[in-house]
Symmetry: C3
Subunit: 634 residues, 3 copies
């Protein structure tokens, strides 16, 4: 029996090689059909325990042993089996003369970034299970390592759950061969074991470090210099990181956004950025389609009906496809107390929530329910920083290569919400460089609003992308479509106002403001574009221009009113609170910004509520600087 | 030529074996490439007819014969072919010396219960075709035998119907090998023939006997002793048998149920029981998903729109997937004359209908249209035996292993419909043993009602199962979700009543009852929870508690009113009939129970109708025992 | 070296054959591994250029040449490779003695009509790419040649676009083997090249000629002799050709039709004709399902919401399945100015539009937007030629084998729209020959209308086919279903009229006509059958019959009125125009035929609008011949 140092070939070429594992080696380094040098560290009735490294030990059963052994003896063994609990059994290896080769701990697993160059080869991979989908054939474990997520197909028996003890969240070591399968690289699993104890800890730490580092948002310079925005930037980076991390963890994302111009300027760039990042991270080419959904919402808050529906879909996807429950991303919506019931419904499930909004927030009401919350009001800024402006930067932090397609979007977002932000001129300049003058941007904004109205609950991805001109659309079509839709929108607004204006009631308030009231139920077309909120807004704008004076406009239906004011120091949320108390049985609720908002009441108390409201308005001070520039959420 | 008795090996080992079929053998016992002893029983121009057994005979064509033959001669033949009509052709077998082996009729087909142990082996199976689905590849015949249903894939040419003469309902003999295919055992068909005449009769009888016996509901002892329930039990067993049989026959089941607490306590247990039974019976693992659908219905009867939609889906499934038309199971709904038009629409198609309901039935109107009808009123009992109570027992008759998950459900059902049944205390005790005190049960009931409202037309399977805590849900989540939803429901009821109560009109009727009227269109929030029916009910309940006197409450909208009364001997169905006659052009219709119900009319006659209604109420006798405990169908 | 004339075998049997391409041969005639006779036509640094025919030339690289060559020399070459741009490279062929065989240009490609007889054989096919669908595995090119459309599967790497330079609209030559794949013949592509220059021109011309000839509608004799119809026939043939061509080009078709009796009698026959033609043309057996969709529309014009939704679906199908954008076929709808905004929305995309309608058209408004427009008014005929009558002939031009199933349909269409066409008696006779007397036809018409109401936005294919008794339905079920639905419809009309008639307001107009007004909002049931339009129509019909005098009936709701008149010379479109001007803020719009129509206004101006309308009606002349026979579009 000869021993030689590793690497030095034995004198006798016929010698076998026996492997000596370094002390830091783990179970992951042990392979079948290889002789390892082991040391006996215990003797029991039914066999001997051997150590192969600090963390690898196992039993050699007495039935496969002959002779006698003492603790400390060397023994050359081969792996016989690994039990489900990770325990290893060895058997004596049949070697005579051998040379010893040391083996270092194999940190160099084949990562998901190197699968394509190892098609058909057996490789090892360590990672966290992020989805377990039972198909009619194999069980598909989606495993994320430091570099990506790969589906691993394990076959026990058709339709039977392979490795039933392995669950989402487990750290596993997969042995198998990458193969193409319907356009996707997946690993055909030969073996899959859950790492336990220190091995798992270490792998988890390694993955966590990698995840943490890969989740880092890109450090992109904002499209324009804008001190006000800088205050929100760290917050936005957190959201970018949360979203990137969500993608890396294989969790689906459900985007709910306000179905208006600003909302779409916010949601579409983020959607595209996430789709591209998902495509980069996931080997499964259908992943972008399965892992992100964008859904427009008509209401200015997250309705119980939508939350119930979202939850229901999420639970079904979990049940049917073994998907994790989604992260909910609320855009241009979601900062207010009205969102709380819906959030609380989801809170009972593992559904993180992130909000980017520029509507007046109720931080106290929502903060505990959110995993991230970006809102200019939280930094002493206001709605003039629109959600679309924020989200273009958010999209760039997620996927900076998108930048060139997005330069004109903040200007559209700003015009849509009539932002009076200082930055608007820079954004307009930026858009102008891309060939969008203000008229064209205004057209895009009108066209978006018009399309959103008719799309109702459909996301209308292609159409909206054509209108926004992102994701490589056809330029000519974009231009024609935008101008056609914008023209239609204006024509239909004109028709609506032709019907409504003759019925406008005017009153000179004591405080010197004009009050205009319009009964939109009786004097405007119903169920068509523009809806009551926009109708009221358009009337208001015309009256401001016409009079040059402070103006309040109230558009009322049977059980609601929308309010807009310019040049008057209103406090609508406070007025609503007072009316709630002063009019018992009025069923008054509502809110909004200080100078624009909406109010609901029961039909039978309409007159009383509106009269009381007007009285309050009459008491308000004139302040010509105040403007209801931001669109009412119609 | 030697003949020896069966079983005794010939002296000469080179001897062939010739098989002598027993007289009871059928075509199913004949295999290709085997020599059989036959007797000539007829001679025609084109060949000779031979008998192999009492029921097996066939032609040997003259082209393959040489020599001359006489009736009664023996001839050794092999099967040449089986024509589509089952006729057999034989040819002389090329044997010299042979020994004879008798063959008994092979009753021992390989049943669907033994497929997994015969993977890859050729087996025979006899059964009835229950679905024929043409795929792009093979034709899939779903065949049920005594033990289950198995898909049998026959390939003629890609996308071409194999065995076009074989249809749903035929008795067939399938020869082929069971194989795993996408997680499911299916038989790869080598041969498939329709049994005719006596063979078919016999097989059909055998299958029918097996079906009959397997369809038998389990004889489970009711969860509690309750004499009133015993009267309905035989009826319920019939439904259980019908449903089990439907599953065994491979027919889909469509469940329509009232979308309230009791309706869901009825439908969900039956759904789960059927899903589990389907999984047991069907080899196809997708069968539970394809063969049962649960659909909530908002109206208190089966609407034409729903029936049209159901029929349309059923016809499409038949067209696309070769499925049989479904059985319709109506739960907590379906006993009244208002259901008749919808039933009659379905009556033109092969769609059996079963109803389990506890609303006041019109047996004369519906009986002819139903295949089964369970309703406590048909046995001199009443709504106090709720549909949920009945259906928990029904679910147990179908799949008794479910029992432990259902013990608390009847109590929820009872509280949801405010059942004053004697049995309620036993049900409450039973639930208490499972850890559900009355408050918690009440919460579950409120939570269900609230969730049903927001789910609208979605079945929301997972969410409802979490609320009901069935099918192995997470206990903590169940508790949190229930208390959150229950609290929300109560808050929203409070908000609604805050708006409504100040507008309540009170009148002391001559008969001593209080009459309360509320205009729910003008003095309650619309399109939100609680809906008008529940709003009226909540007001009514508060007034009963407050006054302790007989109370009638009328909640009216533009063209409807919901009525509740306690302590007054009303007969609402009769009042509706009278109003129909007394108010021409009132468009009055409606109904319900004696003391709770709803009424519709044309908008323009509202005042007249309600005044006339109040007049009738005024004439009603006081009877403090009468209670409108069961919820109005809001 | 011996040369012999083609066809004469060489003296030496060992001689090779060298092929001499005829001058008209194209690249398509060149095959690998075959020696061709070439002539050197140019010598460059890096090799020599050779001609094989007028259009085939290529390079022989110097690296494979030895010796020296002069222009005009003969050289025997083999094809080495064809580059992506179509350039060919040759190499010298290793032949000594050979005989020459001339090769004619192979026009005889294996067309899609001969694929099934060439399964597994390598074939060539030339055609135009009509769809490129990237799957997870191969790229599927749908290629149309002179005879049909076949999917061609090219595999580059799983999920990777094969032949990325090849796009929809390219003319390609496909070399490969037809194979069965999931029930469909597809070609497994060995090579695919884009034809360029003359080859492409020639092929395109050939395809175009073939397409033109195959698109020709069948020259079927109309079901009845009807001179008025003859005027429209050439127009209808154009539509038939356009539709057949659309199918041949693999473009999907989306049918939008008015959801009433006539609309369904129009759309269903065309749908079935197209489905059958698609099945004939396309090898892909799912093609009929994917390439035609029928969608009922409730409004009497193409609404923006529907257009937006259609566009959205079309863009998604293009994105997901590489489908071409569809052709839109409007039936019994689509001729008016109200359709323009929707058409203009689609006009920015490649979506041709064809209209067959019999409502009063605005040809100036729509003509520029349509690819085809059939309307009797364009030929001095009127609504009496119903769309159903036209479309039965259209269906027959597309697929004449359908004729026997359609003979009764024009009569149903005519009765549905109460056509007073001369031809009605012929159509009734034709139907009578098929066993449909007038009562039965009337029942079918009522049943269709009733079913359409409850199906709402579902096409309800199977149910409607049962009602119409087309596409091989069950006769008994058809009869039962029709009489049940017709009875239900009549009962529900009776119920509605029981409520409404007592509230009918009568006035004797100065011109001698009776005016009846009914408030359908307040005195008819809402949201149920019959809807306001039909309710008004039924009242009107009863009053005509009752009085025998000229009658005008106005059914009004909060913001609309439907108008019917008989015996009075109204001009409703003109009245609407006048009211628009006379009532500022009335929001008046609407139109229809001269004597039937509808009008919309804002709720608050209802009284004023209706009073002004009645005043105008009072001024109208009596003309007993005028009839509102055609149903209002209710």
């Amino acid at each position: 029996m000869t021993r030689e140092s590793a690497g030095e070939p034995g004198a006798d070429d016929g010698d076998s090689v026996v492997y000596d594992l370094a002390s830091e080696c783990t179970a992951a380094d042990v392979e079948y059909d290889r002789p390892y040098l082991a040391e006996i560290n215990g003797i029991v009735d039914y066999g001997v325990f051997v150590d192969l490294s600090d963390s690898i030990s196992g039993l050699v059963h007495e039935s496969v042993l002959d002779g006698t052994y003492a603790v400390g003896d060397e023994l050359v063994v081969e792996l016989e089996t690994v039990r489900e609990n990770g325990d290893m059994a060895f058997e004596p290896a049949d070697v005579d003369d051998y040379t010893v080769e040391s083996v270092d701990h194999d940190y160099a697993l084949t990562g998901t970034d190197r699968l394509e160059s190892n098609i058909g080869e057996q490789i090892h991979l360590e990672g966290e299970v992020v989805q377990v989908k039972q198909t009619g054939g194999p069980t598909i474990f989606h495993v994320t390592d430091e570099d990506g997520v790969v589906p691993c197909a394990a076959f026990e028996e058709a339709g039977v759950r392979a490795y039933p003890q392995v669950e989402v969240g487990d750290i596993v070591r997969v042995t198998g061969a990458p193969e193409y399968r319907e356009g996707t690289v997946q690993i055909e699993v030969d073996g899959l074991s859950t790492l336990e104890g220190e091995d798992a800890e270490e792998a988890r730490k390694r993955l966590e470090d990698a995840l943490e580092s890969r989740a880092q948002p890109h450090d992109v310079a904002p499209l324009i210099d804008w001190p006000a925005f800088e205050k929100l930037r760290p917050n936005l980076q957190e959201v970018a990181k949360l979203l990137r991390r969500t993608v890396l963890e294989g969790r689906p994302i459900r985007v709910r956004h306000h179905a208006d111009g600003d909302g779409m300027c916010a949601a579409v760039p983020v959607q595209i950025a996430l789709e591209r990042f998902i495509a980069e991270v996931h080997e499964d080419e259908d992943a972008p389609r399965h892992l992100i959904k964008r859904l427009p919402a008509k209401a200015p808050f997250y309705e119980m009906e939508d939350a119930t529906r979202d939850l229901n879909f999420a639970l079904e996807d979990q049940e049917k496809h073994g998907q994790q429950l989604p992260l909910l991303l609320m855009l241009d919506n979601g900062s207010t107390a009205e969102d709380v019931p819906a959030y609380e419904t989801l809170a009972h499930y593992d559904i993180p929530i992130a909000v980017v909004d520029h509507h007046h927030p109720d931080p106290e009401a929502v903060e505990d329910l959110l995993d991230a919350h970006v809102n200019p009001y939280l930094h002493d800024e206001d709605y003039r920083i629109t959600t679309g402006m924020l989200c273009v930067e958010l999209a760039r932090m997620i996927y900076p290569e998108l930048t060139d397609e997005l330069r004109h979007i903040p200007a559209v977002a700003g015009l849509s919400d009539r932002s009076k932000a200082d930055a608007m001129s820079d954004y307009l300049d930026l858009a102008a460089e891309e060939g969008y003058d203000e008229d064209r941007l205004q057209d895009v904004s009108e066209a978006l609003d018009y399309a959103a109205f008719w799309l109702r609950y459909n996301s209308g991805d292609q159409l909206i992308q054509d209108l926004l001109h992102v994701d490589n659309g056809d330029e000519d079509r974009h231009r024609e479509l935008v101008s056609f839709f914008a023209d239609r929108a204006r024509e239909e607004v004109d028709e609506q106002l032709d019907a409504a204006m003759p019925h406008l009631e005017h009153e000179d308030l004591d405080n010197g403001a004009h009050l205009y009231r319009i009964d939109v139920e009786n004097y405007a077309h119903r169920f068509t574009y523009p809806a009551p909120g926009k109708t009221t807004g358009e009337i208001h704008d015309r009256k401001i221009e016409e009079t040059g004076d402070p103006v309040i406009t109230v558009g009322y239906g049977p059980d609601f009113a929308v309010l807009r004011s310019d040049g008057v120091r209103l406090d609508i949320p406070n007025m609503v609170t007072e009316l709630e108390e002063e009019i018992p049985g009025g069923g008054v609720s509502g809110g909004g910004h200080l100078v624009v908002g909406s109010i609901k009441f029961v039909k039978g108390k309409r007159e009383e509520v509106i009269d009381a409201l007007v009285e309050k308005m009459e008491e308000a001070e004139i302040d010509e600087a105040l403007s209801s520039a931001a669109l009412i959420d119609d």
